[in-house]
Symmetry: C2
Subunit: 420 residues, 2 copies
C-alpha cells in the first residue's frame, strides 16, 4: 500500500513559504505505521494540480492533498479533483451552516466568497473544519490507472496548519485505520548530539551489519547539532531485531545519546529537571532568547524554568546580571570571564540550581583574528562551581543559534546526569 | 524551460526532519527569475531515487537534487544518476585531495568511508564543497525522454545546509545563468499583517481584475499572523502592470502593509528604529524569549535592542521588572495591569524608548472560563504613556508564540509610525 502527499501552493514553489505540512503529515503517518513513498509540491494552477494528481493516481493507493480549498480565486484543488473523478459539485446545507456559524461565533462579517466553500463533490465524505471555513473532502473511487482497476482514496485537506492538524488527528486518522489498516512494524529513532554523522557510522556501522542481514533497516540523519539513527524492521521478529540493534548502539556511543523518537533535547532537559526537582535559568547574549524560547516550547517548562535574561547590550549584562565593567573592558564581552560572571550573576538573582550563560559572536560582523565570527563561550554555574567552555560555530545567524543552544543544553544535560 | 527539485532522504518522508531545502532553493531560483514547476521528495533507496529522476527527466530541463552524496551506506544519489546516464564513476585526485585537506585543516581523523566521495561520474563537472566532504556534481546530457532528443542539466547537491547554501550561491547560480538564462519578468511580494486572507481578497479582488486582464498573475498566501500578496508579470509591460496593481493595493489596505519581498516584520522594526534613532526592549512571559529571538535574527539588531527579560516565573516579574505582588494576586499574571507594570518596569530598567511586554496563557493547560487558553495581554510603554491590549490566540504552543509576537511587533510598528 503506497501513500503520496501532494502539497499545492505556488508560495511553496516560489519559496516565500516553508513547507511544514510535509514533515507534520509524514511524521503522523510514520508513527501510525504508514510509509509515505513520495511527496510532491505543485503550483496553484488547475493544470499543474491535475497533472500531479493524475501522476499520483498511477502510483499510489492513498493520496493526501493540502491546500487549494480556500475561498480565493487561486484555490483550485476541489474543482480539479472533482473533475478528474467526474463528480459534480453539490451545495451542502450542513457545510453552509457551519461556515455561517464560524463567522457568527467570532462576531465577524462573512465575506461573500466563503459561501463557495459549501459546494462539495457528490458522493464525497465531508470532514468538518472546526477552525476555519474550508471543509476537508474524501473521495473513494475505482481507477483504471495502470493495468487493472484499483481503489484509490483521495483525501483533500485545507492548507492552514491550525485547520489541517485537528482535522487530520480527529477525522483522517480514524478513517485511514478503517479503510487501509497499517502493517505490523517496529521503528525507533535514537537521538545523539555532540558527535558527527561519519563518526557515528565509523563506530557502529560494522557492528550493525549482522542486524541488517536479519532485516534491520538502518538510516542515519545529520541535523543541526545532532545525528539521528533510525532503526526499522517488519514482521514477527521486528521487536527483537530493533532491540538488538539499539543495544549495540547504546553500548558503543551511549554517552552521546540524549533521547528517542520525537524527543527534543530541551524536552529531555525539562524531564530530568522535573524528576530531580531542580531549576534552571538562562543568560543569553548571542543567542538572543533562542535558548529560553526552546525550553518554553516544552509544555510544563514553568515548573523548572525561572526565566531568562537576554543581555544583549553590555548595559544589560552589568545592570541585571552584575557583570563587572572592568571584566568587559579587560576581557571583552565574549570571554570566559564574562560568561562565568553572567552565569554566576544570574544564579544569584534567580536562585535557580543551575544558570547557563551564552556569549559569542553570531556574525556576520563583529569578529577579530583572535575571536573570529562563530566564537562562543558557554558558562554553567551551580553549587559545585562555575565553568565556561569555548566553542567555534562559524555558521549563518540562525544555524549559529541552533548549534550553540544545542551545546548549552548538552553541557547542562551532562552536568545533570552527574547528580543522583 | 522547466525546473524540478528532487529532495532525497527517508528522514524527510518519515517526518523526522523538516524539508528546509525546498524553500531555500525555490526562493533563490525565484529571485533569479526561474520558476520551479515541481518539487518531489523521495526515500533514500536506489529504486525510489531512480524512479523519481526518470520521471523528472520526462518533464524538466533542469533537475536539482539534494542529499544522498554523503559517505554513509544510505547515500545513493550519485551512483543511481551515474547509472541512469551510463557514466562510469572515476577516481578524482583533486576531490580526494580536498577531502583529505578538509579533515587535516580541522585536525580531525579522516574516516575511511569519506574516501568513496572522491569517485565522480565521468564527464561531469565537479562543484567544490568548502564546508564538507561531498562534492557537488553536474551532468549535462541529451535525453530521448518524450518524443524528441532534449538537453537536460542535472545538478546534484549535498544535503547539509551549510554545504549546500554556499555551493549553490557561488557555483550553481553562475552555471545556471550561463547555461539557461532566465526570462524577463517582474515580481513583487507585498506583506501584510493584522488582516485575514478572505478580507484582503474582498477588498482588493475586484479592483485588481483589470490588471489581471492585462497579464497580472496574482496570488494570496496566508501565513501565521500575516498574508502575502504576490504580483507577477512577464514581458515588456511587466513593470507597469505590477506597479499599477501595487498602487491599487496600497490605496486599499495600506495601513496593513508592513513590507515587501522577503522582509520580515522584525527586520522592518529594526530598520525604523535605526532610522529614528530609537531603542526597544522586551519583557516576555508566555512567548518565552521568542520575540527577542526574532529581533536578534536581524543582523545589526544590537544598535536598537537593549535586551529582553524572559520573566517566566512570577518571581522574575517582581524581582527584575518590579511588578507588584499585589497586582499579581489581585489581577493575576495574565492581566492588563501586570502587562502594563511589566512594560513600565522594563522601560525604567533598560532606559529604552520603547518597552513591550507579553503575558498570556500559551496552553495546553492553565486556562479558566474568564481567561481561556490563548488569552494574552500585550503592553507597550513609551514616553507618551502605557497601553495594554487583550488578544485571543487559541492555537498550539508554537503558533501561539508566532501570532502573539507578530501582534506585539505590529503594535510597536504602528506606534513608531506616529513618531516623525
Amino acid at each position: 500500500m503506497t501513500i503520496e502527499i501532494i502539497n499545492t501552493g505556488s508560495e511553496l514553489l516560489s519559496g516565500s513559504v516553508l513547507n511544514t505540512h510535509q514533515q507534520w503529515l509524514c511524521n503522523k503517518l510514520f508513527q501510525l505505521g504508514y510509509r509515505v513513498s513520495r511527496q510532491i509540491t505543485t503550483s496553484d494552477t488547475a493544470e499543474d494540480i491535475k497533472t500531479a494528481v493524475l501522476d499520483s493516481i498511477n502510483r499510489a493507493d492513498v493520496i493526501i492533498t493540502t491546500g487549494g480549498l480556500g475561498p480565493t480565486s487561486d484555490d483550485r484543488t476541489r474543482d480539479v479533483i472533482a473533475e478528474i473523478f467526474g463528480r459534480k459539485l453539490i451545495y451542502d446545507e450542513n457545510v453552509a451552516e457551519q461556515i455561517k456559524n464560524y463567522f457568527a461565533l467570532r462576531k465577524r462579517h462573512q465575506p461573500e466568497s466563503t459561501k463557495i466553500q459549501a459546494y462539495v463533490p457528490e458522493c464525497a465524505t465531508v470532514l468538518q473544519n472546526q477552525f476555519g471555513t474550508a471543509p476537508g473532502i474524501v473521495i473513494e473511487a475505482m481507477v483504471k490507472a495502470s493495468h487493472q482497476p484499483r481503489k484509490v482514496l483521495l483525501i483533500m485537506l485545507p492548507g492552514p496548519p491550525r485547520e489541517l492538524y485537528p482535522m487530520f488527528e480527529n477525522q483522517v486518522i480514524p478513517l485511514l485505520k478503517e479503510k487501509v489498516p497499517p502493517p505490523y512494524f517496529v521503528s525507533k529513532i535514537i537521538k545523539t548530539t555532540g558527535i558527527g554523522e561519519s563518526k557515528v557510522e565509523e563506530i557502529v556501522g560494522e557492528k550493525l551489519k549482522p542486524c541488517e542481514k536479519n532485516g534491520l533497516i538502518l538510516g542515519y540523519c545529520a541535523r543541526v547539532g545532532e545525528v539521528d539513527l533510525r532503526l526499522e524492521a517488519f514482521g514477527n521478529d521486528a521487536h527483537k531485531i530493533v532491540n538488538q540493534a539499539e543495544q549495540i548502539i547504546r553500548e558503543s556511543i551511549g554517552e552521546y545519546i540524549y533521547g528517542e523518537g520525537n524527543q527534543t533535547l530541551e524536552a529531555v532537559i525539562v524531564e530530568i529537571l522535573k524528576k530531580k526537582g531542580l531549576t534552571v535559568s538562562f543568560a543569553e547574549s548571542c543567542t538572543g532568547g533562542f535558548v529560553s524560547h526552546r525550553i518554553t516550547n516544552v509544555p510544563g517548562a514553568s515548573e523548572v524554568f525561572w526565566g531568562g535574561i537576554v543581555s544583549y547590550a553590555n548595559d544589560a549584562k552589568m545592570k541585571v546580571l552584575g557583570v563587572k565593567e572592568e571584566s568587559l573592558n579587560k576581557f571583552g564581552a565574549v570571554s570566559e570571564q564574562v560568561a562565568k560572571e553572567m552565569a554566576d550573576g544570574l544564579r544569584k538573582l534567580a536562585k535557580t540550581d543551575f544558570a547557563v550563560s551564552l556569549t559569542g559572536i553570531a556574525g556576520p560582523s563583529g569578529g577579530s583574528p583572535e575571536k573570529p565570527v562563530g566564537t562562543v563561550y558557554i558558562g554553567l554555574s551551580c553549587k559545585n562551581g562555575t565553568v565556561a567552555k569555548r566553542n567555534f560555530n562559524p555558521y549563518d545567524r540562525l544555524t549559529f543559534k541552533q548549534v550553540t543552544s544545542q551545546q548549552a543544553f548538552e553541557l547542562l544535560r551532562r552536568e545533570l546526569l552527574k547528580i543522583s
